[in-house]
Assembly symmetry: C2
Amino acid sequence: MGRVNLLLLRQEELDPEGVVRLTGRRLEHAREVLRVQQGQALRVGVLGGLMGTGEVLSEDREALVLKVSVTLPPPPRAGVSLVLAVPRPKQLKRVIPAVASLGVDRVVLVNAARVEKSYFDSKVLAQEFLDGLIELGLEQACDTVRPTLEIRQRLKPFIEDELSTWAPADALRQVPHPHTATPLRPVPASTHVVLAIGPDGGWVPFEIELFVKHGFQPVSLGPRVLRGEVAVPAVLGAVRAGT
Amino acid sequence: MGRVNLLLLRQEELDPEGVVRLTGRRLEHAREVLRVQQGQALRVGVLGGLMGTGEVLSEDREALVLKVSVTLPPPPRAGVSLVLAVPRPKQLKRVIPAVASLGVDRVVLVNAARVEKSYFDSKVLAQEFLDGLIELGLEQACDTVRPTLEIRQRLKPFIEDELSTWAPADALRQVPHPHTATPLRPVPASTHVVLAIGPDGGWVPFEIELFVKHGFQPVSLGPRVLRGEVAVPAVLGAVRAGT
């Protein structure tokens, strides 16, 4: 784990005076990585809420006690929803924190022809594990708002029946796909974008047809084959360039 | 290691008839991951040269023998040079393959105030190890051309004395930096871009001043703090969006 840029707290951990007592992973991180000292102010955020500072009232091996004051809003969302083919478990551990740190609004992990069925049995798809990966990304990026995250084992019913209510109805739908002449271009921040990012090896023709039938425009990322953990930030960077 | 999309060969491995005999890592990968069979055609590329196919003449536990035919040029370069503060060794292992897969032309790993001195003693900065990381990125992206890679323990002399000959003289110089009003915007593909990407925690004021004094424009990536392995693809995606 890298250095945490924001200590994430839960609202229910705060007492009425805004004092919180941390143990476990956050205590260890504060002592061993951040090397906190009494009186120091740490950057903190309340999951789903405001950000601010936590003054260290005391710290020892048992607990880190902070007096929290949160008044700042978290950064704005990216205005992006991701339909993401389930990556290999090892990649998923990098992609999900990246997705969270980039401020993606919502992500659905879907099956695809080139996704190995065994991935759905992987422990990294357990909700608790995914929640942990999301929080890593938020702590990195200094954000408090999780992307919503769902898992769908069947792509077609999701696209046909759920997509129109899952993401804003007026969103621009784009599917990165090689052999497409139209390059991925920046989209004004006022327009929400739904991006369908395929697995290693890409979407198969049947899947591309399904996306196109449901209003997705195929766009090109160029001739290079990018791994999910590289493709996701590159696509987000391109779509939101200049905003 | 993920699935290799291109088997990288060296020119000197090919005999005059274009036959190559592979052992070691590439043999293992071909047998265990790609599950190659006699007669099958694999995507291959000659390091620094052309790409094409390798027909499997034979494969067994000892060697994979290919008849190689390469006629296709590698994908165009990104037209980007990176001045990259040395990341933590664990991050470097992810950033360098990403840099290579994105087609970056050249990268210099530099020291910075917020880079821990111990990183320069890490074995991941050994040339052989870095070469391996670069080749991983090329095999992923289907490219044959390495970015040039250098290491400089002192930032200031590099910027003052070497930068002007290291990258094209007419390149646009940009330094991502928070608290900057100008967002990073797409730059036409015909303009080479030099990007200076800081360490975790960013460049310090002295470093930003040094860059600005040497023609770098500070640009914003937005309010989120992105880790190197996320920032690099996001920045490349933004700079080359629409090209």
